[in-house]
Amino acid sequence: RSTELPEHLKAYKGVWVFIEHDRGQVHSVSWELMGQARILADQLGVQVSGVLMGGPADDMEAFAKEAYVYGADHCHIMRDPVLQGYRNEPYTKGLTDLVNTHQPEILLLGATTMGRDLAGSVATTLGTGLTADCTELNIDGRALAATRPTFGGSLLCTIMTLAYRPQMATMRPRTAPMPRRDESRTGTISTMALGMIETDIVTKLLEFIPDANRNTVNLSYADIIVTAGKGLKNADNMKLVWGLARVLGAEVGATRAVTQAGWLEAERQVGQTGKTVRPKLYIAAGVSGAIQHRVGMEGSDIIVAINTDPNAPIFDFAHHGIVGNAMQVLPVLTATFRSHLDRRILKVA
């Protein structure tokens, strides 16, 4: 097979980020991607553009201003009543038309339920390569080198699209850091019409039912997480992680062994088949540190592990290790934090 880029595709220039938004809020993964796009584009010496699609009720000009602050030079805005609320058909047509008109060399989307649905359809329509669920993006030569975990995280592979354009990839939320804001940055806007009316579209959005616990389990974006592993022995001991979490204002996470035992809800699972997290502080109690768990949390700033086994794999990548019985350590840690954090707050007050 050919790995040469055909002449007519050499005109494709620039890095694009599809900016996902929902009920007035941009998904953080879009800004994480914007930071990555900026780095890639600077290496290539090209511009970064954001793509904003939505309905009359979406304030996309405001989102565009945010996009500049996070690194975009330009935004493509497509507004149409049929784009109010995500549906595959009109979004696929809109994004495909934008790409064919403006010819970006790289198109990035978040690996969310929307991003994966849309990226798969757009890549097929364009007949180009799409790398799924990446955790790292680089430039190799002039091409995108997208790295993703394979076989449950035991290996990584780097995938490239050499002879087709655009090069597409979806990126997992929380695998790239949030870029620094630069309030002085501005950019330009262009608009394009979708050219579809409601009667063209077969699928109807009847209703959107927001999750009841949307704000209760917000693991992906928590600053501190206390995670329970199978080493905690039983469901009753979950109160020890809850206790520490309460004192620290933390979220509670779990390994798959724990969610499968039913000690904590499935939404709390961290890892390959759960959430990717990137907190400032990650405390893992009774967690062995299996690779499938590790890939979901190794981006944390500080990792603390409590484990009875001094040879547990988690100590190979944690920053601070306590060799000890978690049932003994957790209550004391909770009490220590409580008294000392209180004292700190008192000092400030």
Binding site: T113, S121, T128, T158, M160, V202, T203, F315, V329
Partner: protein, 269 residues
């Protein structure tokens, strides 16, 4: 009602080991299974067949031994099975895979029109979730991904209402047949195989189609040739340079000392 369910045969990843020196997957002795996510699609299809009658045709692209995976599905109650198998399919990425599957589904539809296509949410090996959207796009089917519930199917009106998992909530969508559904995991529980179906699974012929029988004319669209993505490198995650800074409860230091120490380290660094 005619339903096609796409399944992939995958290595049982719980048993996969990586060679410590060469970083290659050691496949020897690793059992091959039906991609676990696809069983939720199959069970949902069987429930529709129970309700409306008709047939469930299984479809898999893979090497000859993938026949086992298809027989497994027949033992759960699927009507029949087609294995699309040809050396020319080797090395396919998702774009080439969806091309081949779409061609085969078109062929299946020539025998009896297809109302619904099911796939799993994703596989446990390639893990891209891209094949479902790709097949739907190529066949012009209404795409419904991450479906958690099928609320209603009206065969007379040819309409379908489903619940779809979205970011921060659930969308209720109404569309028309034919559609393609990628089924979310944990949405149902696979039934037990009956003795009758197990016997049928052992006897029933699994049809094997090569690329011509699957209706593929343009060989530049399949296998490695039809795959835009190139795996340029496979490597092990890099280990952190230094191990954790360790403290041990017991020898000389009490739990209290250790915790206080940790607190100071975390909040001064």
């Amino acid at each position: 009602m005619h339903i096609v369910v796409c399944i992939k045969q995958v290595p049982d990843s719980a048993q996969i080991r990586v060679h410590p020196v060469t970083n290659t997957i050691m496949r020897q002795g690793v059992p091959a299974i039906v991609n676990p996510y696809d069983l939720f699609a199959l069970e949902e299809a069987l429930r529709l067949k129970d309700k409306f009658g008709g047939r469930v045709t299984m479809l898999c692209m893979g090497p000859p031994q993938a026949e086992d995976a298809l027989r497994k599905c027949i033992s759960f109650g699927a009507t029949d099975a087609i294995l699309v198998t040809d050396r020319a399919f080797a090395g396919a990425d998702t774009l080439a895979t969806s091309f081949a599957l779409a061609a085969a589904i078109r062929k299946i539809g020539e025998e009896q029109a297809v109302d619904l296509v099911f796939t799993g949410k994703q596989t446990i090996d390639g893990d891209t979730a891209q094949v479902g959207p790709g097949v739907a796009r190529r066949l012009g089917l209404n795409l419904l991904t991450y479906v958690s519930k099928i609320n209603e199917v009206d065969l007379d009106a040819r309409t379908l209402t489903v619940e779809r998992r979205a970011e921060g909530g659930v969308q209720r969508l109404k569309t028309t047949l034919p559609s393609l559904i990628t089924m979310l995991e944990g949405t149902n529980e696979m039934r037990f195989a009956t003795m009758e179906d197990m016997l049928r699974a052992a006897r029933v012929p699994v049809r094997k189609w090569n690329k011509d029988q699957a209706g593929i004319e343009d060989v530049s669209k399949i296998g490695l040739k039809g795959s835009p993505t190139i795996v340029s490198k496979v490597f092990a995650p890099k280990a952190r340079k230094e191990r954790a800074e360790m403290q041990e409860v017991g020898d000389g230091s009490s739990v209290n000392d250790v915790c206080l120490n940790l607190l100071q380290k975390i909040f001064t660094t």
